[in-house]
């Protein structure tokens, strides 16, 4: 099975769209376990933990001791996408119960605190990300790595071959763009006491 994942990852990397769909069922259950602990902690679990768990998972799935750097970058990118799917599934499942309730707001990340894990905004964010991906797929990848997988800015920069300054700058733009899609009236927030 692990050999299959490697093959599929390579295919996906080479731009074969079917490979992703074939990969998901293989990796999804394990990543969901990981995500569950992420969600259960109900707070920023500490970046180290999330990424090191993904890394461990990666090594396990690939069944090898040393991972090739490029493979690793792809796996992280892939995991980040899966994580986004998991968190959105989670939010959809939660939807009915949470609406109108006094559920505790647990930010997706401190930098993106306006999206709560399991909240309606999470579903809206995902739609906005799909729209944004059509214009600027790189930034979506950044958002996924940084906010869904929990990588640090440095790790994100590393995985994407960019400088940290670029990551910070681009994410600022991405957040503004996404926020505007979700909150149609930002001015109201600025004038609210």
């Amino acid at each position: 099975m692990d050999g299959e994942i490697t093959v599929l990852l390579t295919k996906w990397k080479d731009g074969e769209p079917d490979a992703f769909d074939q990969l998901v069922p293989l990796v999804y259950p394990r990543l969901r376990e990981l995500a569950a602990s992420y969600i259960r902690r109900e707070r920023d679990p500490g970046v180290m933990q999330a990424t090191s768990l993904v890394h461990e998972l990666y090594l396990r799935l690939l069944g090898q001791k040393k991972a090739d750097w490029t493979d690793r970058a792809h796996f992280y990118t892939f995991s980040a996408k899966i994580m986004r799917m998991i968190l959105i599934d989670h939010a959809r499942g939660n939807h009915a119960q949470r609406r109108g309730g006094h559920a505790e707001h647990v930010p997706l990340s401190d930098d993106m605190a306006w999206v709560g894990i399991g909240s309606v905004e999470m579903i809206e964010l995902s739609r906005a990300l799909d729209e944004f991906a059509a214009i600027d797929p790189t930034k979506v990848q950044m958002v996924e790595l940084r906010y869904f997988l929990g990588c640090t800015a440095d790790e994100t920069a590393d995985l994407m071959h960019l400088s940290k300054a670029t990551i910070d700058r681009d994410l600022k733009y991405a957040r503004a763009w996404l926020f505007r899609r979700i909150q149609p009236d930002p001015a109201a927030i600025l004038t609210r006491p």
Binding site: W12, F20, T77, F78, I189
Partner: protein, 917 residues
């Protein structure tokens, strides 16, 4: 969903580029820049305005939500353990403090809850947190905010619950109430009391500053934040095992001592320094230093080198003035070198009290040296140890070991680990224990310490197989631990089985190394030490045969080492000590009572000292050694052959007198000298030469009186004083005894002299009882003295009021001598006094015989002295035949006198039993 292509350098679209540029220009220039850059493109302009607005709103909204989420995490009603949070009081680097109440509905107790937010807290950290919490929970003092509870909240944060203190900082309290100088000092003294109390309980505050000392409206100060700072300051081993280096953030620079800034060990002296800064601030209203930049370089320069100005020279207080004495007191607390400051908070406080009372303060008296020392050859320095102790408790000794363990597994092996271990075994544990002894009421801490250390040693031992250095380090650590367990300083606190177990582990570890490397001097030495300690513990366990066997084995191991190359003077002294300990054990009254074997060991010991001296003629322990050894030999002979003993004492005295002047001035040497003078006097009196003995007693007495006066808390000095008084009284009593002295005309005068000595002795013993309550021996000694005094007063014709005293004293003597664990000495103290009790109707003759018989049996019929007491008891009971037989048995034990030697006291008294027959 295909992978997103990753361009090497993404080129933003024009709107995005302008967006970034706009964020870089100041807010008030943004509009102008926007107009210029868009150059009339209104769509672009609208898009950018919308994006900028969204960006600003996103940040604001995000931070607002973060804030709300944080307070939601502590929203009113949230439960932390059994506490219900009410409101946020403040936030600090380590987490937030909330006002809370206990949620059991029983009583409304307001508490402060400190949540320590450390998401990455490791098990190691939690373990340490738990250990320290245990110590802190014991810190109950009216001026310390009591730590009530602590634990791990459901969300994983560590929490501490403490008394909620409703007050203002001590500085604000002083200013707002315009306190007078005296009131400020009085308030400060209360704070000192609390800090001293903490020190006695092994806790250093480490962050004393006005904000941590709140004063309630009624003027009661309360110290806060005990133990929270200590949770994060790392030790060297922390750094080694990957702990974050938080040391420099964990204190407040303005109040930090030089050692804190330098990262040196923090001791109680650091708190004394911080108290000095506080007092400076309270009196002068400014801090001793001005820190402007808070850089490490500035802190190092200012705190570690700049001498602070006298408080009086910078004071801005108008309604009182600071005099030179107060300047001196404060500056003494602020000395750069910890050992130059007050040694304890109590001394600091005592000086302030002296100033308040108008007495001279010690800070002005210049330097005085602290003379410390012990009569034993293995010296320990309690003060240094006390300082060390507090450091290690703080670091958590278990932590040290744990980290050694972690290092053992995860890091490059040998270095860090064995260094930690060596530190532990060579100094930490034994000094820690010594320091614990010096702090009353620390038995609990000692027990906790021992169990933690043992746990971790066992864990490490499981990993150590085959690694020579680790095995030896562990053996040393087990040996130190065994010493702590076996060496009780509070009655019944010794854990002999535990000590034997630890020493057994040490021996097994060392033996394994020795088996693998038979000529490994270091391993043999570790083995010898552990075996010797085992022998010493067995002694106290009342197991003389096993003890002798162990000590013999230690001596043999040393013989093996001494046959190998590389013998040094210190090694010879170590071997000499082992021989001496075995000799002592042979001479033990209730043990082998084999003085000849004991003396043989002492002679071996003497030869080793001499060999050491030939290797290194300047090695001082080897120069002093023969003095002690001849004293030991003489002691083994004094009861039965005082002329020979006197020769040994004389040789010892010559050894001592030949020591360099500097050495002679030392306390230990002074004591040795006084002991020898006393022993020579005793030996002279033993053969009836009271005239020569008297001035020697006087000389010895003068030295002891001076030592006892120098330190009114020195129990050893009072013990020595008591002994010389007893010896002098015994000599005068003997001089008045018609059997022993020929001049009955001086009887009255000798009796009066004896009575004077006995009275002073009783007073001295009472001081000892006050210093060491709960010890039976001094009580029995007082009773012994009272009965003897009663007998003398009876003989002098003043019996009236003494009979009741003697009766009560005899009751004490009987009670103690009848105990199942009574020692030969207990029996001697009772029998010798009761035999003499006056009026004779006080003597319960059957009981005296029973006690004397027990004394004879306990000493295996090998002690002429105990046989004499039994013979006298039988004689007094009208059993002359039995008395005669016992006296003959006693005489047979004595060496035949050498030609020209005068008859000894014991011989005369034994013969007296025969003659009257």
């Amino acid at each position: 969903m295909p992978p997103n292509p990753v361009p090497p350098d993404p080129v933003p679209d024009p709107a995005e580029r302008i967006f970034h540029d706009l964020l870089d220009v100041p807010r008030d220039q943004r509009e102008a820049t926007l107009q210029r850059r868009c150059a009339g493109d209104t769509t672009l302009m609208a898009e950018l305005r919308s994006l900028l607005e969204a960006c600003e709103a996103e940040e604001l909204f995000g931070s607002r939500i973060v804030r709300e989420a944080r307070s939601a995490a502590a929203h009113p009603g949230r439960l932390i353990g059994p506490y219900c949070l009410d409101s946020l009081i403040g936030r600090g680097g380590m987490g937030a403090v909330y006002l809370a109440h206990r949620d059991d509905g029983q009583f409304e107790q307001q508490v402060a809850i400190k949540l320590i937010d450390m998401p990455l807290a490791t098990d190691l950290f939690r373990e340490r947190f738990r250990l320290e919490r245990q110590i802190l929970a014991g810190l109950v003092h009216p001026y310390i905010a009591h730590m009530l509870d602590g634990g791990v909240a459901e969300t994983g944060e560590l929490y501490l619950a403490m008394d909620f203190v409703d007050g203002v900082s001590i500085q604000r309290f002083c200013e707002e109430n315009s306190l007078s100088l005296r009131d400020r000092l009085a308030l400060f003294l209360k704070v000192c009391g609390a800090v001293q109390f903490a020190h006695q309980n092994l806790v250093i505050h480490r962050d004393l500053k006005p904000d941590n000392i709140l004063v309630a409206a009624d003027g009661t100060p309360r110290l806060l934040d005990f133990g929270t700072a200590k949770l994060v300051v790392p030790t060297d081993s922390d750094a080694a095992s990957g702990f974050t280096q938080l040391g420099l953030q964990a204190f407040t620079p303005q109040y930090a001592s030089p050692e804190q800034v330098l990262g040196d060990p923090i001791t109680t002296a650091s708190d004394i320094y911080s108290l000095g800064v506080l007092l400076y601030l309270l009196l002068a209203r400014v801090l001793p230093y001005e820190l402007k930049e808070f850089t490490t370089a500035e802190m190092l320069r200012v705190i570690c080198t700049d001498v602070p100005p006298k408080p009086s020279s910078v004071a801005t207080m108008s309604h009182f003035t600071i005099d030179a004495d107060l300047d001196a007191i404060i500056l003494k607390a602020l000395r750069k070198e910890p050992q130059q400051r007050y040694l304890t908070v109590d001394q600091f406080a005592a000086d302030i009290q002296a100033w308040i009372d108008g007495r001279p303060v010690s800070a002005c008296r210049g330097n005085w040296s602290y003379i410390a020392g012990k009569f034993v050859r293995r010296n320990k320095v309690p003060l240094a140890a006390a300082a060390l102790l507090l450091v290690s408790i703080m670091a958590g000794i278990a932590g040290v070991l744990w980290q050694a363990h972690v290092a053992n597994r995860e890091r490059q092996r040998a270095e860090a680990r064995s260094q930690d271990l060596r530190q532990l075994s060579n100094s930490l544990l034994s000094e820690l224990d010594q320091a614990l002894k010096d702090i009353p009421g620390s038995t609990g801490a000692q027990k906790l310490l021992v169990s933690r250390v043992l746990e971790h040693l066992d864990r490490m031992a499981a990993d150590a197989q085959g690694d020579r250095q680790t095995q030896l380090d562990l053996a040393r650590a087990y040996t130190s631990l065994g010493g702590v367990q076996g060496d009780a300083y509070e009655q019944n606190a010794a854990d002999t089985p535990g000590a034997l177990k630890s020493l057994g582990k040490a021996i097994a570890l060392a033996q394994a190394v020795v088996d693998a490397h038979p000529s490994d001097t270091e391993a043999l030495r570790v083995l010898a030490t552990a075996v010797e300690d085992r022998g010493e513990v067995l002694t106290t366990a009342g197991n003389p045969e096993n003890s002798i066997a162990a000590l013999k084995s230690a001596v043999q191991t040393y013989d093996r080492i001494l046959a190998l190359p590389g013998v040094t003077a210190p090694l010879l002294l170590e071997a000499s000590t082992a021989n001496q300990v075995l000799g002592d054990e042979y001479c033990e009254d209730a043990g082998m009572a084999d003085n000849a074997a004991g003396i043989a060991m002492y002679r071996r010991s003497l030869a080793m000292d001499e060999r050491a001296l030939s290797l290194d003629p300047t090695y001082m322990p080897a120069r002093r050694g023969p003095g002690y050894m001849h004293l030991h030999i003489g002691n083994a002979q004094i009861d039965e052959d005082s002329p020979r003993a006197r020769e040994e004492f004389r040789i010892a005295l010559k050894v001592v007198e030949a020591l360099p002047a500097q050495e002679l001035a030392k306390l230990n040497t002074l004591r040795l000298h006084a002991v020898l003078v006393r022993k020579i006097a005793v030996a002279l009196a033993d053969v009836g030469d009271y005239t020569t003995a008297a001035p020697l007693f006087a000389q010895s007495l003068a030295i002891y009186r001076k030592l006892a006066e120098a330190d009114p808390k020195d129990t050893r000095a009072f013990g020595d004083l008591k002994r010389v008084l007893d010896d002098a009284a015994t000599a005068s009593e003997a001089a008045a005894d018609p059997v022993l002295a020929a001049k009955p005309g001086q009887r009255q005068q000798n009796l009066q002299t004896a009575a004077a000595f006995l009275q002073e002795e009783a007073a001295t013993i009472r001081k000892l009882i006050a210093l060491q309550p709960g010890n039976d021996d001094p009580a029995q000694e007082v009773a012994n003295v009272q009965v003897r005094l009663g007998a003398i007063q009876y003989a002098l014709g003043q019996p009236a009021e003494t009979e009741a005293v003697s009766r009560a004293a005899i009751a004490v003597l009987q009670r103690i001598a009848m105990k199942s664990n009574a020692s030969p000495r207990n029996l001697d103290l009772s029998v010798s006094a009761m035999l003499r009790a006056e009026p004779a109707s006080l003597r319960n003759r059957q009981q005296i015989i029973a006690m004397a018989e027990r004394g004879v049996a306990l000493t295996h019929r090998k002690r002429a002295y105990f046989l004499l007491e039994l013979a006298q008891a039988l004689q007094a009971d009208g059993q002359p035949k039995q008395a005669d037989a016992i006296a003959r048995e006693g005489i047979a034990l004595l060496d035949p006198p050498r030609p020209g030697d005068p008859p000894t006291r014991i011989r005369k008294l034994l013969l007296a039993v025969l003659i009257t027959h």
